[in-house]
């Protein structure tokens, strides 16, 4: 427990970031990879200024001597004099605004794109960048401050990119940066205090590693830790010097340094850290003249703790304990000599100062934007095993408590994220089940009746009058018959489109979407959509329902953009059909009487006038006496068989025979067909004649009567064939057509359900087939004639052709020619 360190939060920046560079001069400079550099005053503990650059900042370096700041940005390297920084206005208000400084092109001193790292060695500025084929380390001579022009280029070193690591580098280019580091020989006379990023190395090790020439020229040596794991070096000012590889870590290098080296006490080993926690020490242990041994220690990655690694145990020659400097994702708990400092989530770290009592102070930035001063415990330097004095106990308990708090905070965040992930998975499971269910229905059993789908829609039509306008509403009910919950993210889509083109020639389909929350098994969702007003109704009309699921709510917007179709899954449900029978308004017998005088149903004054006008037109049309009709014949035996359940027991079938007509009409008008039902006051039908009003205002007469065919035709039969004739009469041809279609469709549906009875069809064969054929041939002739006259006949007017065709149609639909459905 003696490995406690004091963490003091200096300020909070309130951002969270993955990577960050931190430099300490008189002030603290930090950048988070965005366009901004923050200047923080350590003494006043306040943000001094924010410097805005034209692009993302890659690296920055401070020149203490000349009081300048160099910043590598997208388009090159900028130089900013620290004296020119705006200072906070000296006002009494403590919360004065932090001054911003915008950097423009005049501060650009080196125009080079893609500079990744900077290093300042005396009066030479080095920058590292990556071209297509090589890493380029270029030297520039710093010009005097008075002439802030472009800097003179002094040549460059290059190291070819290793082919297989190329992709890796470009992918992660934005996140990771290579590391630059400068090593001086202790024998060389240079400035007494070395800035950060520089270290003084013991002369023998220096000579062994970098050669006699570098030592003789007293040249500093530049180290590059590249992203492919290579550790390269070059003597800074030796003629003909080249970048050479010292070692390869085989993982991106995140730190190069040395065990605490100062001028008086030069470092005895170099340390390099890899991203995945590999630590390489370079010492002259088994020195001799043949070269330093490289001792490597491996550690695992667990998170982002700050750790201390005692190098004296790894290398018997060294005695100094060095900080396992940690950037993001640093090494962790494997070998026995690694001590965790229990400081979590530090993403950038720099050496701050040496206290008077020999404590090491570090400056760290946590991933949530807290700038922290971390004071290492003194005991560490002595191997970390000494008993702390009792006065320190109280403090260390406080430290333990704060560490516990820290760990608790971290664990609770982790817990929350795990919980939300589980929930998301559960949700996804439901979605998958539902889509599987609906898809197998669609793929496997396409012929199965619609009712078999566990999740389906059915609908009811109803007329409502609003603002003196009649409009048709469709009430859709989504029935969740499955055992799964339809949770948040599902949307019910309803598309209504008329089967025939509207008179204007445009297909006017309508879409409605209803997002909904939880729909548990067995629950129903009711929605109501307006289909049309009475005037512009176009039936039959197909209403298709589908369910859509959007992943964006579940996974977040970014993840969704990579999914196909924008993260939307669409599952079709069933398709409903609204036909003429659904939009009829049945008139009571009293109304029907009134209707006989072709008076409209409405009684309001405005409508009366309109109705009057309409009726005038109608009279004119009626003057031509155009009453259209169509007939459908169905075997009454079939009807009896099929409509039985609604009528009652089978034994009654004979007794209720006159009721077949009524029950047929009842079935046609009131039963749900194709999932759609007509809503309205259920009036009991008493007579087999029904008057109804079509949406366009015309009256339709629907008559059903039972006819004995055998008597009628006087054909010899063993058993009389009784049929039901449904006659549709109206003054509007369109109504007749629509009604005929609707009735026929329903009867056809009925037929599909009926069991086969081959015997009755055989009986039919003898029955006036010949006659029917003759009639058909006659009609065909008529039809052909009218077509020929249409194409060739100049003398025949269009009206004549039309009336001819109409004639044929009416005869086809009429009583004589209609086919019998058995």
């Amino acid at each position: 427990m003696e490995g406690r360190c004091v963490v003091e939060t200096l300020t909070e920046f309130g951002f969270s970031s993955e990577s960050c560079s931190l430099r300490v001069g008189a002030d603290v400079f930090l950048s988070t990879g965005s366009d901004e550099v923050y200047v923080f005053s350590d003494q006043n503990r306040e943000l001094k200024a924010i410097i805005l650059f034209p692009g993302p900042v890659r690296d920055l370096v401070v020149n203490e001597d000349k009081q300048t700041l160099y910043v590598a940005c997208c388009s090159g390297v900028y130089c900013i004099g620290l004296s020119s920084l705006p200072s906070r206005v000296q006002s009494s208000r403590p919360s004065s605004i932090v001054p911003h400084m915008k950097i423009s092109g005049e501060h650009l001193v080196i125009r080079e794109e893609g500079v990744l790292a900077l290093l300042l060695v005396n009066s030479v500025l080095l920058n590292l960048r990556l071209t297509k084929t090589s890493w380029l380390l270029t030297r520039y001579k710093i010009a005097e401050e008075s002439i802030l022009g472009s800097y003179e280029r002094l040549g460059s070193f290059n190291a070819p990119v290793v082919s297989d690591s190329g992709h890796h580098i470009t992918d992660e280019r934005s996140e990771r940066r290579p590391v630059l580091f400068c090593v001086h020989s202790a024998a060389a006379p240079s400035s007494s205090s070395l800035p950060s990023g520089h270290v003084c190395l013991e002369p023998v090790l220096f000579k062994v590693l970098f050669g006699i020439d570098a030592a003789l020229a007293k040249s500093p040596v530049i180290f590059c830790g590249l992203l492919d794991g290579r550790l390269c070096f070059a003597a800074q000012r030796l003629p003909g010097s080249q970048l050479r590889v010292l070692h390869s870590l085989e993982q991106p290098v995140v730190f190069v340094g040395a065990s605490a080296g100062t001028r008086t006490d030069p470092a005895e080993c170099l340390v390099a850290l890899g991203e995945q926690g590999k630590v390489v020490l370079v010492t002259s242990k088994q020195a001799g003249p043949e070269g330093g041994g490289i001792v490597a220690a491996f550690t695992e990655v667990t998170g982002s703790d700050l750790l201390v690694l005692d190098l004296s145990q790894a290398s018997t020659g060294g005695s100094e304990a060095a900080m396992g400097q940690a950037g993001s994702q640093k090494s962790a708990s494997a070998p026995q000599n690694v001590i965790s400092l229990n400081v979590c989530r530090v993403i950038a770290l720099t050496k701050h100062a040496w206290n008077t009592d020999g404590r090491v102070q570090l400056l760290g930035l946590s991933c949530r934007g807290q700038l922290q001063r971390i004071s290492l415990p003194v005991g560490l330097q002595d191997g970390g095993s000494s008993q702390p004095p009792s006065s320190h106990v109280g403090r260390s308990i406080r430290d333990v408590l704060s560490a516990i708090g820290d760990v608790y905070e971290r664990s609770s965040v982790l817990k929350a994220s795990i919980k939300s992930r589980n929930q998301t998975l559960k949700h996804l499971n439901q979605v998958l089940n539902i889509s599987f269910l609906l898809n197998t229905e669609a793929d496997g059993r396409t012929l199965a009746p619609v009712q078999d789908k566990p999740i389906r829609c059915h609908a009811t039509t109803s007329w409502s009058t609003l603002l003196q306008k009649d409009s048709l509403n469709l009430k859709c009910v989504l029935d969740n018959g499955s055992s799964y919950v339809l949770e948040r993210g599902w949307t019910l889509n309803i598309t209504a489109f008329p089967m025939c083109d509207s008179p204007e020639g445009e297909s006017c389909s309508k879409h409605y979407s209803f997002p909904f929350h939880n729909l548990h098994p067995g629950e129903k969702l009711e929605i109501s959509v307006p289909l049309a007003t009475a005037g512009d109704l176009s039936v039959p009309c197909s209403v298709s329902c589908s369910l859509t699921f959007s992943f964006s709510g579940l996974l977040g917007e970014e993840a969704v953009t990579e999914l196909p179709q924008g993260g939307l899954v669409s599952l079709p449900l069933n398709t409903l059909m609204v036909d003429w029978l659904h939009v009829l308004r049945v008139l009571s017998p009293a109304d029907a009487k009134r209707n006989a005088t072709s008076q409209p149903y409405d009684v309001t004054v405005a409508d009366t006038i309109r109705a009057f006008l309409k009726s005038r037109c109608g009279v004119e049309r009626d003057a031509g006496n155009e009453q259209h009709s169509a007939t459908i014949k169905v075997s009454s035996q079939l009807l009896r068989d099929m409509l039985k359940p609604s009528e009652g027991g089978p034994e009654e079938s004979e007794a209720v025979s006159p009721n077949v007509c009524i029950s047929l009409l009842d079935w046609l008008l009131c039963e749900g067909h194709g999932g759609v039902k007509m809503q309205g006051d259920k009036m009991a039908l008493t007579s087999p004649v029904v008057h109804a009003r079509a949406p366009n205002g015309h009256t339709i007469k629907l008559t059903a009567k039972e006819v004995n065919l055998a008597q009628d035709r006087a054909v010899e039969r063993e058993e009389p064939l009784v049929i039901v004739e449904v006659q549709i009469e109206s003054s509007s041809l369109a109504d007749v057509c629509g009604m005929h279609h609707a009735v026929l469709r329903r009867v056809q549906n009925l037929l599909q359900k009926a069991p086969d009875k081959p015997s009755s069809t055989i009986q039919m064969q003898s029955l006036c087939v010949r006659e029917a054929l003759q009639r058909a041939e006659k009609l065909l002739r008529q039809l052909q004639q009218s077509r020929i006259s249409c194409t060739f006949g100049e003398g025949v007017s269009m009206g004549k052709v039309t009336s001819c065709l109409l004639n044929v149609y009416e005869e086809l639909r009429g009583n004589e020619n209609s086919l019998l459905i058995i």
Binding site: R139, G155, R237, P239, G240, Q242
Partner: protein, 614 residues
Amino acid sequence: MSNERQQSPSKLSDRWIQENNELVNKWKNREPSSRDQNHAILLLSSEFHKLLRKIQGLPLLEDHTRLELCVVYNVCLLSIALSQMSEAEMLLTQTMERVLQMTSVEPMASSPPEFWRTVVTSVENRPFQSSVQNLLCVRWAICLANCTLEAIEGLQGEFSSLSAGLQQDISEARRMSSNVPLLVMEPRKLLELLQICTLITQGAERLNEGGSSAALTGLQAASSLPAPRTLVAYTHLLSGSCLAHTGRPQMALQCFRKAVETDFLCVCALYQSVLIFRCLGNTQAEIQMLRLLHSTLMLPSTSEPFTASDQIFSVSVLLRSQALRSLLFVPTALGVLHSLAQKCVLHSRVSEGVECYLDLLAAIRSEEHSVRSEDSHLPRLPELYLEAATSLLMAERPVDCMTLCDEVIATTAELLPERVVLEEPEEGVEESAMCAEGEQDRVAMLFWTGAAYLLQGHCCGHLQDWKQAVAHYTRCINLLVKVRVKEKGGQPQVPTPDVCNEKRADLQILQRMKGLSLAGRGISFAQTDQLRHAQRNLQLSLHAFPENVGARLWCGEVLWRLDRKREAAAIWEKTWNISIRSAENIPVYLREPQSGPMLDSAELRRRIRELDSS
């Protein structure tokens, strides 16, 4: 309706012409700062590419062909300036295919020269003929930049007819100057450049193949062409090289002089003159030339030779032939300074030499000299130090010499090996580079340290501090005895003179250094009247390195003093009769010291005569 359709592209083409001209004018009116040139070209190139994509979106029609070809010309020149030859070539071929399609000539899948001939004939007497000719110039430039001289020869006929065609074009352009797309570089200027650059490249290639006289005629014709100064200087330079190859060094020197007169920054001519003087053995002239070369190289403007501000690309893009490049090679300033220093020291201009060496060391230790990989043929830094130290000793500055030697000794101090075995290099087998390098470094380090001690001994001798001198010589000897020699298949042993053959440079150095240090110690003993020790040391010295004249004479002297006068006389006689091999390749610090106590040969002869007469 049809009227409208015809009008819209022509209006669009007006807009495109305007856009093109704005870009060209922006380029021509930019601020001439050489550093940003590349960046500016890059930007301009992308703008032009955008424009070209717009234009090529339409099928090629007769009325805007000229515009498209002009833009292609501009784009290609910018690509060449950015050294993107293959892109320029591809664009050129595509454009010509479009032109052929428009003129409804079937593009044949034939060789490039045939293809171009088809193009040129198909556009004859068309309004855009001149634009196609401009593109032919571009084609020429690409061939030249790619160093494919055969391709240029294949189209020689078309190229030579270009200049007449371009002449016409100028007058035509003046006539309708209002609505003409501008070009980033005058085709006329480009053609001039191409002509002279082609002649220069051809000359260099021929010279490389040994056809000096053929090359000479071409180059002399080229020297009268109108061209930038730099290029004219090159023609003179190459003519000079041809003459030097055919054994006419004086005429060659004349040519080099002309080259420098034409362009005073033509450093390669200076360097070639240095080489000629070196061949002629005219050391004084060589030293002068080296001095001139060094001062020219130190001028700030030589680092970036041809960037005329109005040209879009530098001539060096067109001069890429390997043969030419080797002719234009110039060592770096540091290299020149080193050879200058060496020459001065070796040819009795010691004080100048010392200055040069000190300049050289100062340059290396300064922060701001530029590091170039071409500097790698400078000697290793310890050797430079030792050479400088020797020059200081020769200039009678023994204290400074001692300081430099101290520095070398201090640097190598902790790294000296306990024992070194020199193995005979095995022929045909390449050792792994790293291992050999490490081994060589250790041996070299030992030799450097030894030489430093030797020089310190000489210094002490110079200062008449004999006791100290003996100490330094002894350190040197102690180092050298650590070296064992291993014969092939044998055991490591102490080297003897008979194993020292010509091929083993390291052994020669070892024996020479041993001989010199033993001789030095012997002479020092002689000076302090320790004649027995002196005699043994001198004998051993002669055993290791028999050609040491000083040691022989001193050996005789010691014998004389020991009253063995007959033996002494015999040794002296023999010394005057042996022939000395030239020491040109021996490092200057391993030569016999010129500064120690000397014996006068005339005096010795007089003594012999006296001995004989007595």
